[in-house]
Amino acid sequence: MEKKLKKFLSNATRVAPKISKKGELFELRNGLVSPYPQTRKDAIKKTIQQMTLGKDVSSLFPDILKNIAASDVEQKKLVYLYVMNYAETHPELCILAVNTFVSDAQDSNPLIRCMAIRTMSMIRVDKILEYVEIPLRKTLQDDNPYVRKTAVICVAKLFALNKELCQELGVLEDLVSALEDSNPMVVANAIAALSDIYETDPSVVELPKLIQQHVSQFLLALNECTEWARIVILGALAEYTAKDSLEAEQIIDRVTPHLQHVNAAVVLATIKVVIANLPKIQVNVDSPIFSKISSGLVSLMSTPPEMQYVALRNIRIILERYPLLLSRELRIFYVKFNDPLYVKLEKIDILVRLVDPCNLKQCTLLLAELKEYAMEYESEFVSKAILALSQLGVKFSEVKFVRKVLDIIVDLCQTRDSFQDDCMVAMCNLIRHTGSEQDDMITQVCSLAQVWGSTESVFQTDYAKCNYIWLLGQYSEKFSNIDKSLQVFIDSFTHEESLTQMSLLITVVKLHSVLPGAMLQNLLNLATTSTDELDVRDMAIMYWRCLSLEGENETLINELCNAQLPQVATTLDAFSPELLETLLRELSLLSSIYYKPVSTMTRYRMRTTNAVKGKQLNELQYMARDEIMKNMNEDNLLDFDGESNFAANATQPSSSVLSDINDLFDFAPVVPQHLQPQSQQPVDESIQGLSLHEKHGSAKTSQNSNTQDLLDLF
């Protein structure tokens, strides 16, 4: 009786609950343990609401957990969502959910089975993982493909969380057998999981071998699964190396229908597979497969700009291997007025690359188009267009055409007043391509340069300055007041970058007989004493030595400076063959955008184990050492050549010069001796050795450089 009274009293006080005092969490907690199911469900909903808003409701964990065992699927989903989110904050309490997870994994509803195993393998709590074995095994053998495909992914998750446990349980074998599943989704997820695991630790699964064995399953599954699964399967197919041309052809036939897929990623993945198999089969240029690839690529051009950009970057790689692939689709790649800048720049690049250099009509069309681009307002775009003009000229290579290009550029220079840098580089490229026979073109360029030269600081970039100075030196007879133009650069020598410095050095040495003598002296002094650029200093010292030689130094200088430069065959940059090979294999991956192989990206490197890394480092060291040794040998040969030359030239071996030369050059043979005992850090050491010796040499020369020798020269 007394008890009842007590209860009645406490109930009476509950009539007006104090809401605000204890706050929202208290209210939610009350709701979660309420004896009414509907109230509990509402409270769960509210809690999830708070959670998604970013409020910390982790303190409700035990109370939410009580509601995990509900028959209501909706409520279960919400609770699972909460558990996924906050499991890490209450790892010890998670164990209370184990029983529910396990029994849910045997539920009659496949959705719940799937949810249970997914959540279980997702929670980063070690204690839970201990109990994952039975449910995981059961769901891997489930009747329902939806559950199986989830379970297969869970194996990869488990592997990422606890590698040892995963191997102990032996579920990796189940994963391998899932590759032979009857359902394409399961196959796709299995291969995705396997490649994920392979990426983390290549020693656990033999992915390449598995791919070789299961190609027929992949090809079967390919047509029946979702687009994302297709990408995964296509990725695996691209890794496969066909046994013979027949098989390669078969694979290409099977995947080509996917070139028309709406999803750009599927198209790219398909192209990757086709390109991987193309070298295996004999195809000529106009085989239908190329037109299929090109139509696939063209379809990518109607996607949003971001995807276009990715497509363009990939196209650039493909074009490097198959330059004529898209030459009929020139118009598709014309720049539209509303393209974002990054797409425009890529498009110009692609345009020049894909044009057929044997087709005059097409080149003329493109020339007109590029001319339009050069009249635009975005400066980067215009620069690129001007560069592209010269690239096109060089590519088509016919004198008349080049002249046309040059006319356009000269025209541009006269109408626009801010792109001298780019025009200068473009014109020099063209002149270097046509060679010195086309005198009228050279005169045209030189007269323009003469005008520019009279106004100070026309050129901003190192590259443009370098080109301008080269022009001065190469065609000095077409310029008046050449010493004045050069003097401007010598005055600002210390502020210039290395390319300009070197170019200046060559030009002045080349023209030293025409220029006032003090100019050369001044420049050599500057170049040996007040620059940090090793190359510039080395070059200056070399020239100085040559000039101070008695006798036939004129011919030597002539040989050095007036050597015939090789003709510029192309100004388009290209990948090295190895890089191109890697990039073609990694088409449609991130590496195709950066043009860097996956193996050079940092995340990947962090993942590789130390042992592997150590080995690689060692190998690299050996490679570096070998290379340096080789270079040294070459240097030696050159040096000895030079020395014998000098010796022959110096009629009277006036000891000082020869010994200086010996001093200067004898660092080369010394270095390898340095190198051998210290093979551990070959690069650093030898570089140090080099620079030390150079300093030594330069110090000597500057001591020696009392004007006597030089004055003799003049």
Binding site: K7, P35, D63
Partner: protein
């Protein structure tokens, strides 16, 4: 809004109200078997419960929300998470496990001292009576010091979850007590 009204009515008439009943005890006492004997009326093969099982069953027009909590030493500390709003506790003892009677007694008394369980009724099942060497209900009661319990309605019933003996008797008593308290 509909939910709101329906839950209001539920509250007014007490229609959907559930009664919380906990089944506690040391590991291997037969808690899960009792739970499913209550719910389905048959014996299921069980594995050690890591966490809990919960089932809702209707018994004599009362909706019972029966919680079976795992009895492992590692899980016992978390029993307290479930104490609030509990109407009754069923404590299951393995009558053949004489060595751990003291432990069971300690756990029982510790649990009953909790503030939130002051109003809860207690039913003790002296389980596994079907096995040889099982202690009788009165012996178990002595071992557990049940007589010391003051100010609480309690009862002990000899039971066998496998055979189904004593389970419904115990529950009948519990329902009567709980119903009386609720009114």
């Amino acid at each position: 809004m509909g939910n709101f009204f329906s839950s209001m009515f539920d509250r007014l008439w007490g229609v959907n109200k559930e009664m919380r009943i906990l089944i506690l005890g040391l590991d291997g006492a037969g808690k899960t078997t009792i739970l499913y004997r209550l719910q389905m009326g048959e014996v299921v093969t069980t594995k050690p419960t890591i966490g809990f099982n919960v089932e809702t069953l209707v018994y004599k027009n009362l909706k019972l929300n029966v919680w079976d909590l795992g009895g492992q030493t590692s899980i016992r500390p978390y029993w307290r998470c479930y104490y609030s709003n509990t109407a009754a506790v069923i404590f299951v003892v393995d009558s053949t496990d004489k060595d751990r009677m003291a432990t069971a007694s300690k756990e029982l008394h510790m649990m009953l001292q909790e503030e939130e369980l002051q109003d809860a009724a207690l039913l003790v099942f002296a389980n596994k009576q079907d096995q040889a060497g099982a202690l009788s209900a009165s012996e178990v009661s002595k071992q557990l010091n049940l007589v010391e319990l003051k100010d609480r309605s309690w009862s002990i019933v000899a039971s066998s979850a496998i055979k189904g003996d004593g389970i419904s008797e115990g529950l009948d008593w519990l329902i009567d007590v709980v119903r009386e308290e609720q009114l």
